[in-house]
Amino acid sequence: MTAPVRRLLALAALAAVPVAVLGLFFVVPVSGMVARGFWPDGEFAPDQVWEVLTRDRTLRVLAFTLWSAAAGTVGSVGLGLPAAYVLHRTALPLRRGVRSALLVPFVLPTVVVGVAFRQLLGAGGPLGFLGLDGSATAIVLGLVFFNVAVVIRVVGGAWEQLDDRPGHAAATLGASPVQVFRTVTWPQLRPAVVSAATVVFLFCATAFGIVLTLGGSRYATVETEIYLLTVQVFDLPGAAALSVLQLVVVLALLLVAGRTRSTPVVRRPATPHRLRRSDVVPVAVTLLLLAAIAAPVLALLVGSLRVDGAWGLENYTALSTTGQRDALQVSVTAALLNSLRTAVDATWMALLTGLLVAVVVTRRSRSRAERRTRRLLDGLFMLPLGVSAVTLGFGFLITLDRPPFDLRDSPLLVPIAQALVALPLVVRTLVPVLAGIDDRQRQAAASLGAGALRTLATVDLPVLWRPVLAASGFAFAVSLGEFGATSFLAREDFPTMPLVIFRLLGHPGELNYGMALAASVVLAATTAVVVLAVERLRVTSVGAF
């Protein structure tokens, strides 16, 4: 056997586990879901799918999806760019704290964000007079709230790495600050901005929890429409048609994202400069953003502490019950325990798979075929990022229900689905770190007599343990908040927190609503603690795509 063949075989062996996981738990369910649409009664009937796609309602839903995603993207980029500049280039006091605070919304459970916005904008809320409750504007605001962190992370990370000397060179050649930005900074920053905008558009277009809780029945996106068609109308061909539509759009976007994905090369990180007079506008935007992000959270917190027009903890003490008129099957505290247990399982699954993927795609390729294979794998594992969690969840339900993979009653079903949702984030956190290790370090270790494992221990592990820990925290947070897939898969007697909150919202009764608020606070606090711990590890690739 020749060396190149041996290398390819080794690559295949390493890749086997993650590929099998992805095949079984992603490709099979998603294609099962799609097949159910095209072959409704075992016979190929594409005309039904076509009929669904040309319905007026479908077109309206599609138009709203694209419009809201575009508006959300514009808003996130518009607010995120000045904030990225202030938080990564200037010496704003308490900069680290502000940065962490702005990262929290991204991992807040979507249901919590929805609840917080309703609390803020609803009839009795502090901003109720704006009349935004249930409006399209509220949905877009929710999307921006959620995604501005992505822009700050991705663009801020790239901006921080930008050498400031070309800018200085331009200034000594007579370029004003605006001209410096336009001619020098922007061309270097553009890939990061495009990449961030693509990812944000993707997230906005596939947002589920926010749209469902804020949009009610008036506004639907492709994602909530899939949910509606599947769960309430049982129109499987319709759901499948929309899933296919979504898949195609998402694949196209992922291709764009992959082409423009910025690989920040550490060149000469500039030291943050003191605030200047010209920084007034971006600093103001950043503070405004901070206030806008704090407002719904505060409204949520205050609301959870109000009982019958007075302050009190009753909403919290009620968390150990099943709510008014037994709205729930289990108590909220039990659901919290379920969530934590599920998150632990989802985390180790996502981490193990993610590590294997990261190692496979970052090893240096010796041939073109090898390089192609690695790039293909890299893209493949980004897929779950954009495929509707609803599609995934429903696909699980209809394909993993017979031997040899009858997992319907397995306690691992929900963690597996959540791990797949978290997988791309884990991979994207670890890949830049592994790719950043100079291969010559490994060669040096090997030339000093270190074997493969010893090389791993001396070169890779010291760099990797923090990102691994950070990725775990991130996966944990994602799992805690996952709503789309979980809503299909969780057993009635084993719900997670987001499900319980959603159910409480749907049941009449003031205490039930109060409990939903309190439960949201508890879930948000749990997630925030995890994320802030991750942030302390200072891994820059977390949350970057």
Binding site: P166, H168, A170, A171, T172, L173, G174, A175, T183, T271
Partner: protein
């Protein structure tokens, strides 16, 4: 004319430049010479307006520059590694400032400047395809395009290898003379300073310890450290200096600095010494000799001289290759 009056610069709370006072007359090329880390680059960045002053004043033709932002100073800075804009072609790099001003005839001017720096036909190349020396030439052309009131050069040649550095130093001197540009150059290499500048300021630990015409500073270094930094091999003081000068028949002084080539082997030379060590180089024989009452010194001999360790020899003292230190 640029004037620095008691200029101090702080970086991250630490004083990097203290009380620097210096004048750069119109049409002159002034070199700030100092070891790495002495604060000379920071001084240059402060002149460009990139770093703020902690104290003191910068003046151009008497007008204070405080509050004048970098892009309005008209001082072009050539960075150590060129800092070309990698996303623009060579031609667009050179024409960058002209396009900012929407000046007419950009293409012709760019061609002229590329000719001046010896890189015609390079306009369409991308910076990444250039060698280090070519990048520096392009950076220089780009800065000259602004017709700056003052050209600032931050170790423009130090990233290059020795042979290229020497050639480019000559070119740089010619280009600056031809363009009639006033320039302030910082470098740690005294040979670079000598090749390009006509005035020199020696900087050490954030302070300017001496400045003046090149020859002036060269002939009379302010102190022993300055002399060593200017390339003098040995500094003698007290009785040793007196004795050496007396033996050589020169007027007495407290401190004297010697270049390696100040002492040459000469059977009829006035100074008697014993050879401790002899080592041949391609140009000459380098000797280590002992002079009674003075100590061990460096000396040179031509390649055909037969001096071995232990030989008693005579030495000739070349008074143009020694300098009395600390006397202006």
């Amino acid at each position: 004319m640029l004037e620095l009056a008691d200029v101090s610069v702080d970086l991250e709370g630490e004083r990097i430049v203290s009380d620097a006072t210096l004048a750069v007359p119109d049409g002159s090329v002034t070199a700030v010479l100092g070891p790495s880390g002495c604060g000379k680059s920071t001084l240059l960045r402060a002149v460009a307006g990139i770093e703020p002053l902690a104290a003191g004043a910068l003046r151009w033709d008497g007008a204070d520059l405080a509050g004048v932002p970098t892009h309005k100073r008209g001082f072009a800075l050539v960075f150590q590694d060129g800092q070309l804009f990698d996303h623009l072609t060579v031609g667009r790099n050179v024409g960058y400032a002209l396009r900012l001003r929407r000046a007419p005839g950009t293409d012709r001017r760019v061609a002229e400047l590329l000719d001046l720096v010896g890189l015609p036909d390079h306009a369409d190349r991308m910076p990444a395809t250039l060698s280090g020396g070519e990048r520096q030439r392009v950076a220089l052309a780009r800065s000259l395009a602004v017709e700056p009131r003052l050209l600032l050069l931050d170790e423009p040649l130090s990233a290059l290898d020795a042979g290229l550095r020497e050639r480019l130093a000559g070119d740089l001197q010619r280009i600056l003379r031809e363009a009639g540009t006033t320039a302030l150059l910082v470098t740690h290499d005294h040979e670079e300073a000598f090749a390009v500048a006509d005035r020199i300021a020696v900087m050490r630990r954030g302070r300017i310890v001496q400045d003046g015409d090149l020859g002036e500073v060269w002939r009379a270094p302010a102190d022993a450290q300055t002399a060593l930094f200017l390339g003098y091999a040995t500094v003698l003081d007290g009785a040793r200096a007196v004795r050496l000068l007396a033996e050589a028949g020169l007027p007495a002084a407290d401190v004297v600095a010697l270049r390696r080539s100040a002492l040459t082997l000469d059977p009829d030379g006035p100074l008697r010494a014993r050879v401790r060590e002899a080592r041949a180089t391609p140009d000459q024989v380098r000797l280590r000799v002992h002079v009674d009452g003075v100590g061990d010194l460096d000396a040179v001999a031509s390649l055909d001289a037969h001096a071995g360790a232990g030989d008693e020899v005579g030495l000739h003292v070349d008074h143009t290759r020694l300098a009395v230190v600390g006397r202006p």
